[in-house]
Structure formats: C-alpha cells, structure tokens
Symmetry: C2
Subunit: 396 residues, 2 copies
Amino acid sequence: MPRSAPARAPITSPAAATVFTTVLTEGPVSRVDVARRTGLSSAAVTKAARPFIEAGYLEELASEGRTGPGAGRPANPLAIRPDREYFVGVKITGDDLIGVVTDLRADVRASAHHALTSHDTGHVVRALADLVGELLAGPTPDGTSNLRERAYCLGVAVSGDVDRASGVVRYSPFLGWRDVPLASLLEGATGLTVTLENDVKALTVAEQWFGEGVGASSFALVTVGTGIGSALVVDGALVRGAHGVAGEIGHVPVADGGPLCHCGGRGCVEAIASTEAILTRARLITGEPGLTMADAVTRARGGDEPLREVFAAAGHAIGLGLAALVNLFGPERVVVSGEGVATYDLFEDQIRRTFAVQAFGSAARCGLVIRPLPFEEWARGAAAVAIQSLFVAESV
Amino acid sequence: MPRSAPARAPITSPAAATVFTTVLTEGPVSRVDVARRTGLSSAAVTKAARPFIEAGYLEELASEGRTGPGAGRPANPLAIRPDREYFVGVKITGDDLIGVVTDLRADVRASAHHALTSHDTGHVVRALADLVGELLAGPTPDGTSNLRERAYCLGVAVSGDVDRASGVVRYSPFLGWRDVPLASLLEGATGLTVTLENDVKALTVAEQWFGEGVGASSFALVTVGTGIGSALVVDGALVRGAHGVAGEIGHVPVADGGPLCHCGGRGCVEAIASTEAILTRARLITGEPGLTMADAVTRARGGDEPLREVFAAAGHAIGLGLAALVNLFGPERVVVSGEGVATYDLFEDQIRRTFAVQAFGSAARCGLVIRPLPFEEWARGAAAVAIQSLFVAESV
DNA sequence: ATAAATTCTTGACGAAGTTAATTAATCCTG
DNA sequence: CAGGATTAATTAACTTCGTCAAGAATTTAT
C-alpha cells in the first residue's frame, strides 16, 4: 500500500487516554465538557482529541441545534466511531468456546460457539484460532472493509487463577491446566494481540466501562451459578489480591457450623447457594434423588413451599455475603448476576431483604442491581478486556 | 527576622514526594537505590533530594566504609533527619484526650493525657488546645530550639464517621456529635494545621507508613475491643467507601442466626467478640451477673474451661471475619490489634486456627500479625496522619 | 599507576499540559 | 439587523517535570 496503514488508537499520554476513555464511556461530550469532567484544560483536550479524529476513532458531531438555555457558540460534541476497530472476545468453559466480535463500545456484532472435545492445550488453541477465523471471516457491517482488517486484539476469559500481565493460566480446575502460557500460544495461532483475564474480572471490566460501573469509582460484580464469585473495583482499579486471590465471595463464611464446603471451610456462601448446593438440598428435602434443577425451579415458581425455602436460604446466604462485601468496601453499586439458568427471580427478594438488614449504616445506600446474565455476556467481558488493553498505562 | 523562615518540607512535585517517602519509610538509602525502587532516573533523585537537604529534612550519611563486594564509588545514603519537624497527635475518646508529640519517623517523644469532663464542643476544643500547649511547651530534645517552633501540624483521631477532606466530624456516637467542623475550630485554637481522621484509619496509616504495612501494597488492620473495626489499604490508598463506610468488619455477619447486634443485624462479629459481648456471655455462663472482665480474663487464663470457651468463640468469630476480609481483598498482611485489656493471648490461637481453615487457597498465605495495642498508639496514629498531610497530593 | 566499576551531578533537551489571547459561532437586544 | 454578550474551540508562548547523555568523583582490582 502506498498510503501508510491507518494509525492505531494514538494513546500517547495520560491526557490522551483520559480524553478517549471519557468520550468512550460517557457518550458524546463537547471538549469543554470533557475538560470539566477530567480536570484537564480545554486546550489539552483539543490537542489530545485531534490525533484520535485523524485516526478515525473519534468524530465531531454536527452541533445539535440548541446548546442550552443561554447564548454562545454551540458545542461540537466529540463522539466515538464504534466501527473504527473491532475486538474479539472468547470465553473458555470446560465444554465449549463462546466467541463474539464487538465494536469499540463493546456492542456485540457477531457471535459463534464451538464445542470442545478435549482439554488438551494444543486442541484448545487450534479450536480457538478456528473460532476467531470464523468470527472474522465476514465483511464489516458498513461493507467498506472486512472484519479481519479492523481487528487487532483478542481477549480471552478463563475461570481460575489467571495472570493477566504475563498471559499465563496459572491454574484452571475446569480445564485441568497449570501454568499454560495461553496468551503467547494464541498470539502465534491468531496473529492478534492477546489479553488473558479471569472470567469474573473480565465481566467486571465490561460492567465498569460499559455498564453499571460507569461513573462509579468503586463497585463490585457478583456472579451466582455453578460457583459464586465476584470482583471488586476500588478507585477505578480492579482489586487483584497480593497472592492473586481476591473477590472470593463464594468462600466468605456466613453460617457458622453450616454445611461443609469443597474448599474445606464451613458455611461458605458457595456451600449454600451454588447450583449444586441448592440441588443437593432440594433432593434431600423432597426425597427425590433424581430431581433436576429445571424441575426444582418450576415447582418453586409454582408455589412449592419447601422448595421455595431452599431458594430463599440460598438468597439469604448471598445477601449475607453481599453485606460482608459492602460493609468492608462500601462500593457505590453492586451488580448481582445469575449465571446459567435464570433463577434469579427466586433469589432476588430474599437477597434484598437480608442485605437491607445486615448492611451497616449508610453502606446500605449502596445500589443493588440484580439481573440475569446471558452466557454470551462472558465473551463480551473478554472483548471488553481487549478494548481496555488499548490503554497500556493505568486503567483510569 | 532578617533570615527567611526555614522552608517547610519542599514537596513540590510527584518525584519529590516519592523520593521523600522512600527515604522516610525505607530508612537510609542511596540515591541510586531510590531510583531503582521508584523507577525514577537517578538524575531526578539528585534534583529532588537537594531541596530536602537544604531545608534540613534529609541528610547525607558519610559513606559507611564498604559499599559492597565490588569496586566503584561508595554510596552516600540519604537519611531522614527525624528532629527537623515534630508532629502532634491527639486521640479523642469519650472520657479523655490522649496526646503525643512525635518526630518525622512517628517515634513518640512526649505524651500527655487530659480527662474530659464534658462533651461540649467548646470544652473539648479548649481542652485539646491546652493539651497541645502542654505538649509543645518544652525544648527540643537536642536543646537547640523549642518544640513549638518545629511543630506545624496536628493530627486528630476520633471514632465514628469523619470526613478527612473537609475536617468535619459527621457523626460520633461516643461524643454525641453531628457535623462538627472540628478541624477549623482547632486550627483557630492552636494555630496548627489540623488533619482529622477516623481513629482506626489513623492507626492504619501509622502502620502503613511506619509499621507492618511498609512495602506492602495492600494490607489491613483490625482492632478488637469495645468495638471491632478495621481499615484497608489497597494499592497504597486507604479504602474510604463511596458513602464513607468501609472496613466495618465488626458488622460482617459470620453466624447465621447468631446473637442480635446493636446494629440490627444478627451474628455480626461484634455481637460475639466485642468486650461487651464477651462479658455478657461470660456472666450468662457462670451465672454471676457481677463478673468483671478482669476476673473473667484471670479465670480463663487460670484454666476455667467454660470461660476459655467464651474467649475461643470470640476468637473464632474474629477468625471468620478475617477470612471474609482476606478472601475478598487478598491483602499481603493483616495486623490484628487488641484494644484496652490485652486479652489477645486468649484469642490468638483460635483466630489463627479458624483463619487457616476458612481462608481460600493462596489467600491463606496472607501474613497474620496479632499483637496488643498500647493505648498511646491511637494518638501516634493521629500524628502519623499529620505527617502524611505533608503530602498534599496522592498518598503514594 | 592504570583500568574498571559504581555513584552522583550537570546541563541540554523534550514531552506534556497550562495560561492567556484569539478566533468562531451562536443568542439577545434595541 | 447591527452590535454586544456569551460560550466553544484553537493557537501560541511558556512552565514544569523528568529523562538522557556526558562527565566528575571515588572507590577496588590488577
């Protein structure tokens, strides 16, 4: 090509990163507004925004008629051009790969699945590369180019102990992996820049940048399902834990002398409220060892009191765990998301009630959002991590 | 005065703050060493250090003979001159004022007490100003000057909801105060620059800068006594909580269906392990409504099994709370400090045992330091906050 | 002595962001 | 409808901070 390749996102200084994230996460904003929100001078915003406009990442919206009540030159809001770059996100579970392509705003544009027939590293890497190839095969939505030419980054989410910085899966119980340098393997196989992250943390990043977490300096996300996990954002940064462990709300002890947990502890939230724990208890109570989760849910929804109580007990345990989290951290908001079967409607009431009782003082003012979690969301989280990887420096 | 007044700590740039804190908290270090540890260039360290040396805050130690194994110019380590400036710290309790004077390293040089006969704001302010006057009356230890001329900052620690930034006591149950602008009142009364902080947070700052927290990017401090509280440091910054509440480990629910807590919850750590909760339980078990804490402690130490079990139950509850904290945050270290009567010897074993069982995975690698808490330490915490207030910008 | 190693200092330079002045685009008023 | 008021964006000069590269200082090793 005679013309130089289009410049990638020109994040060259803290101010550039600040301006870009502000426009990215807070919709169209005028330069003065960006300046006001970030504390930068308006001159700095002008300077920082120009390269982004030239590289096609930002655009100036035609002034939208009225500026407001008073007089004055109307603002030309800066807006993101979401189609300037695409990102691939893949979540690896024990059984399959879930992949999505998103735009800069983390809106999903395409998705695909792929069953895993083995946990062998080589197999997974090949399958993942195939999936990525499939996802990027088509043209861009605007038809002017194809996806592959505008996608440079791949985010991968895996449950377990993941070292994002080095791109290594330290330990993944589901896959039976230890110390697999997955990021570099995938960079070789796909040619994309790969960022690896723990799945719950990835989900939290998506929420922090493009969901409920926008504008909150501290918040938490909790996932309820097979396991119960969470991740915390304090002062804009993900809490990672000195030894790589943090956010283990599933193993917060809430019921002294309660059921034994697979972690060796007693009365952990996960020992009471995980899908398996609920099912075990439901079978015990009904005396039907063959009871399925789907049946239990249907009957509970239908008004089966003993079964409803099993779910309520789970909701109570989650509420206690939330109270522990909120009393210790005081986040601005917490998102509780139900994985897999959307049973959250059976928990929600009890979670809120218990939380209201156990949250201390004004910590109770913390906003509680409870909602289902479509499983594609996990892959979207991975893509969000890829988007975030544009910002090499601090995570604003 | 013909000569200009001696310059205060010349913290004019991020680099200056970094260099000064490094030397302050990590003992004598050569300039190259500071550069290596902080990532600054050695030129920057030289430049930043000079004004501190000129103002008398730092000095160059004569090269200490051998530098190490190899050749090369020997290092001239930079060291703090602790006596360059003194700081006053005062802790306000419901009954009295405890005050100390410390040097730059937060070493206590003088201390004094003062009984409070009323909780009236004016009375407390006057009493506190008197106490400060008393503390600063003498000459400096080196005899070259007097304390007052080298003390500019006062730190004040109060339990309850305190807004450090505005210097307002939002709510203090012990004093019965609401929205008292204590910092500005005290600036008027003492002429010193006043920094107000919550007492547990102040203690944590002291630990972060001058104790177990040095070098740890995240750690927690827990105090056990009348109340049970904690404060958390994540990535070098104190967690404040979106609504001003954080670190409320005392109200983490650990025993579902346990004793009712004064906060309205059930099974809170504080409802089981606070001094009052222990005493209530001890009286119930022994059937002696007049039992004192001192007696209970003596008899438990002497081998009284039922009483030992009361303390063990408290230790267990604390251990569960600690596990919750550590599983959620993954701090590098936790300090557990016993307030008032030094009963920690009766808890320690049980705390460690429970913690070991309930801490999840490598979170258990978190270092646990359990030790008594001399009550002057609270005032020292206040002084540490005053020292930290020199660093206007971020708390490194 | 001379060379090698290591620490510290110095001055030129460059990057990033600020302030202040200027230009631009609109509304309001008489 | 001209002129002023008002707000937005840009420009240019300047400040500040910290790096780089070169060299001075001071030791050990040969």
